[in-house]
Symmetry: D2
Subunit: 156 residues, 4 copies
């Protein structure tokens, strides 16, 4: 978990969006997910504020983890940048990044759909770095976020 | 679409559960799904009421469809039975059955998670018949529904 | 609390509606309700199954309660019958019955609206027995449930 | 309708909260509200940005309206200020202001509860200006918002 829209909450006192805790355990419960998972929260930030150091931290954790298959929840704005760093730094593992356009806490989120998608792709795809959004899976070097539509698409 | 808990609605006049229309288009919109899909409703029934003729109809539709990759939403109670019929009757296609334990209309359903999962597995798995539930994917001949826990599990 | 659609849950193992616990404390939290309330669950049943003894029990509890203002959550089908018994048996108190057409657990319920309505009417209305549904408040002897529309209406 | 948290939406492209349309008609439908209402949107703004001219506009509309009973949805931060202006400028009408701490669009809002409450209080209270929040009703000159708890309370 790294944060992103996925895990944004509404602060009713200040009327702002903020990060509290990850909703992942609740989402696993909702999805009746029976996969044997290890959940780790590395940071809880907006991906527009993610620094090179943050990406190093994610890459290092992926490389050192005993797991061969990893899903990363991430803000959509710079998800492609993090995927590139991971492709350069982590070898021999299947890594799928996913996120959400609408916070899970808002009730009508795409997050649960994307999580089901990412957890499924990661189980069957060969080693590599991918982005799972909009029901699709993109290789890290052939994807961009369309800022106007908010959708991910292949570059070529 | 064949119905199942997935698409059950609450009839507020009679206080009963019933089938109206499929929620699939709404779920695709929630999931911001950009896959190019052909959606067809074959029936809208409880899978406990599904007959051998109904399963024939599903198999025939899968066999005749021009699509190579097919997701079937189905009640969970007899999903395994339908998978067996499909494995006998349809060759050379990737078919993934999925369903839900909680109706989508109830707000906290596993349906959106399962749909994201099934649509992802079907894109990458080789020809065969599978069941995608609980974040996992099972081959048609190695899965059963545990009636007590409501979870799907491998038989061996 | 006496049950009713208000508190129906979906049993995901058996695919049926049933009663577990009341959702009232959760609804009070959602509504940020700061009223000083005493909550008591007398029964948790479908109002079609409510007997004369059940109505006696409700009336006795209302009469013996130290509270002057009482809200009763109740299935809508026989709410008018219970209101009549209360009007005969309990004097000098403001009693408002309310319910829901859609279970609270289903996410898009009228229950939260009706609860806010009933708790408000009960604070200002003079002693008497009333039904608060559909944003309106009816005297116990001038109300019926329209079985076709599912709405409550004045009889004259 | 004047806006406020009640009607805030999440802009999934920019990741911000904004105002689009009022959710009032949808809330009336959810609440199965059968009251004969005239709905008018005067503005759709955050109450922290409300000016003296905006409050004049609200007061003028209340005074000129043929209705004797009026509910105003309003941001909670300056609801008390608007109530004071209305008390000075509008006579002989029952006016109840209400709002929400959580946007209705977020699925677990207090808005539906508060709306049911405000619509009920306004039907029975004598002429005057009131604030309905947290299940309670306060006279305009004896209420403040506690900025720390986010709850409304009597001043004395």
């Amino acid at each position: 978990m790294t944060g992103g829209t996925f895990d944004k909450e509404y602060d009713e006192i200040r009327g702002e969006l903020y990060f509290k805790d990850t909703h992942l355990p609740e989402m696993m419960r909702l999805g009746r997910c029976m996969l044997d998972l290890e959940i780790r929260t590395l940071m809880m930030i907006d991906s527009l504020e993610m620094t090179a150091e943050d990406r190093e931290l994610i890459a290092t954790n992926c490389a050192r983890s005993p797991e061969q298959r990893i899903v990363i929840t991430h803000g959509t704005d710079t998800m492609v940048d993090t995927a590139r760093v991971l492709a350069e730094r982590v070898a021999g593992k299947s890594i799928v990044l996913t996120g959400a356009m609408i916070p899970f806490a808002f009730g009508s989120s795409d997050g649960l759909f994307n999580l089901g998608s990412a957890l499924s792709f990661v189980q069957v795809l060969p080693a590599g770095v991918y982005i799972a959004m909009n029901g699709q899976c993109f290789a890290w070097d052939n994807v961009r976020k369309n800022r106007e539509s908010g959708r991910f698409e292949a570059e070529r």
